[in-house]
């Protein structure tokens, strides 16, 4: 919920691609299930979340307003509301934010069950409801993440250990950082500056610990969580190597944003330069030939795992298997797209033309349709004989 609402605001940023889907996913649910109480789109956020999905959901925009007061995802010109963190608003977040997610899950499951109840003849009429539900459909694998997030947010928000309002909003901020991209970091630094005046340093350290924990459960590379948290300095140690490039890119853009007067920014710059030094310290790329060979080898291995996991691993056999497999799959598609008639009188053969044996073929078609096949009579003698011991040697009279 927090992520998605923040994502609605950062929909246009380049880093926020993966969370675009989240925003659309959430924007659907508030439409259907959110209790009345959300009204009026936010101007600041409606300009930001300009994607098509948000146009159909004013509820999500007002959703984002509630969030924006805590997470300044607006353009650089509006740091005002970022500074103001009303204490009572944080309190109201707990109940209101949990709602859409739980409704979301139940609503989606409700949709699924209602769909399954209809007969299979109605599958074809799924086009219209499926088009409505398609934004919700891909939610299922991510539902767990959503609920985890909301649970985490609830725990943190309702935690009695938070000493001050600033800290709570800072927690919210650190939680919403996963969707933050480079641009809002300038506002973030401003906010840091302000909260630094209010909040003691140990609460920030606590926030860092929380942010460290949020990093661990969230393995998806699409989340920009790393960039924002990296600016806090200590969180950067938990960054994986794979995220160095993305964090570096974002840090360079935040440098361009130019709000380096805050304490945090001062902390960041030595870290940034150190990071860049470490980056350039890596050895220059291997000679291209070797790199190419390794890439080819990796790809052949990937193909082999895909096509024949228990087969040979050399290039020639893998390629051979792949070719055969693709041909087989093409044939499967062709035969599956052939109509299945009731009496199996006419299974259209794409290539086979048997004019002489057409009768025989027709009868064979009937039999196979019923799960039967033709068998010479001689082999039925053993089966028809009395002794049950011979059941397992039907064709081997000589085996006696």
């Amino acid at each position: 919920m927090i992520h998605a609402a923040a994502a609605a605001a950062t929909g246009t940023t380049s880093r926020g691609h993966s969370v675009d889907w989240w925003s659309t996913a959430v924007t659907c649910s508030p439409d259907h299930q959110l209790p009345a109480g959300w009204s009026g789109p936010a101007d600041g956020n409606s300009s930001r979340s300009g994607n098509a999905a948000s146009s159909e959901s004013p509820g999500s925009n007002s959703f984002a307003t509630g969030v924006s007061s805590v997470t300044f995802q607006e353009s650089a010109g509006v740091p005002g509301p970022a500074a103001v963190v009303p204490q009572p608003v944080a309190g109201t977040f707990t109940t209101d934010w949990s709602h859409p997610y739980y409704f979301d899950g139940s609503g989606f499951l409700g949709h699924m069950s209602s769909r399954n109840d209809q007969g299979h003849m109605n599958v074809l009429s799924l086009t219209s409801p499926s088009s409505n539900n398609s934004p919700m459909m891909p939610q299922d694998p991510h539902e767990q993440n959503h609920q985890f997030l909301s649970n985490l947010g609830l725990e943190l928000l309702s935690s009695p250990t938070s000493p001050s309002p600033g800290f709570r909003s800072l927690l919210l901020k650190s939680l919403t950082e996963p969707a933050a991209s480079a641009k809002p970091l300038s506002g973030f630094q401003q906010y840091q500056q302000q909260t630094m005046n209010q909040v003691p340093a140990d609460s920030i350290r606590e926030a860092l610990q929380f942010s460290n924990s949020t990093l661990f459960w969230n393995p998806s590379p699409g989340f920009g969580s790393v960039e924002g948290l990296a600016n806090l300095g200590a969180a950067r140690q938990s960054l994986g190597q794979s995220r160095l490039a993305s964090s570096r890119a974002d840090k360079s853009t935040s440098e361009g944003a130019g709000d380096s007067s805050s304490v945090i920014a001062k902390k960041v710059t030595p870290d940034r330069t150190a990071l860049k030094k470490a980056r350039t310290g890596t050895p220059s790329p291997l000679p291209t030939f070797k790199v190419r060979k390794e890439k080819l080898g990796d790809r052949i291995t990937a193909l082999q795992q895909l096509v024949s996991p228990f087969g040979k691993t050399d290039t020639a056999s893998v390629l051979h298997e792949t070719i055969e497999y693709i041909k087989f799959l093409h044939e499967q598609v062709g035969s599956l797209s052939a109509p299945y008639l009731k009496n199996r009188q006419q299974v259209p053969h794409l290539k086979i033309v048997s004019r002489d044996g057409s009768e025989a073929a027709a009868t064979k078609g009937d039999l196979t349709g019923r799960g039967l096949c033709l068998v010479p009579i001689s082999s039925t003698f053993a089966v028809a004989s009395e002794t049950p011991v011979d059941f397992w040697t039907p064709f081997g009279a000589a085996f006696r």
Binding site: S134, R299, L303, L319, A338
Partner: protein
């Protein structure tokens, strides 16, 4: 996403909510499109077919719908999906022009040479474009790399758009194509089972 047309004219596709598609894939390790996306596109195409197409040629149409929906559900950054959709479009264009030509020729054998020439020119244009494509493709890619085995051209023929790719890209595209194909076949098999289980 550009508006791409399968058999009859589709509605404009909305921004795709597919998480796999939205992933900023620089190292493009995207898995095959989720089963739901494949199902969505395929069922939508099927619904359109059953409304508009007569029975005799339905097998071919269904097969084409399967490939088109698979290509549409797949990551548009993939070369094979774009090439496949282009192929479908070109094939539809040629059949349409050929049908028009046949109709015009059969209906009025005494049509003025202008109309006949126009339609013939249209058909020639489409066939020449296809032939030209094939020629350029064949000429441009004899052997991309020295280390490329001989089997690679068979692979290039099988994978759509494989003629212009380099060997390493070809392997990558093949892997993705196989994954998508496999998912599509599983989907179709599941549908068939679903519909034939009600006997």
């Amino acid at each position: 996403m550009a508006v791409k047309r399968t058999a009859p004219s589709p509605p404009t596709p909305r921004p795709n909510p597919n998480p796999n598609r939205r992933a900023p894939a620089s190292g493009a390790d995207a898995a095959s499109p989720s089963k739901r996306m494949l199902a969505f596109h395929f069922i939508r195409a099927l619904a359109r077919i059953h409304r508009s197409t007569p029975v005799p040629r339905r097998t071919r149409t269904i097969r084409r719908a399967a490939y088109s929906s698979m290509a549409r559900a797949a990551n548009p950054r993939r070369v094979w999906s774009r090439a496949l959709l282009q192929q479908m479009r070109a094939r539809r264009a040629t059949t349409r022009r050929a049908a028009v030509l046949r109709r015009s020729v059969s209906a009025a054998p005494a049509t003025p040479p202008g109309g006949g020439a126009r339609s013939i020119a249209g058909e020639d244009e489409s066939t020449t474009t296809l032939a030209a494509l094939a020629r350029t493709a064949a000429a441009a890619a004899p052997h991309r790399q020295a280390g490329e085995p001989a089997r690679a051209d068979a692979l290039r023929r099988l994978v759509p758009g494989g003629n212009e790719m380099e060997y390493s890209n070809l392997l990558e595209e093949t892997a993705d194509y196989v994954r998508c194909l496999r998912a599509q076949v599983q989907l179709m098999q599941g549908l068939v089972d679903l519909f034939s289980a009600g006997r």
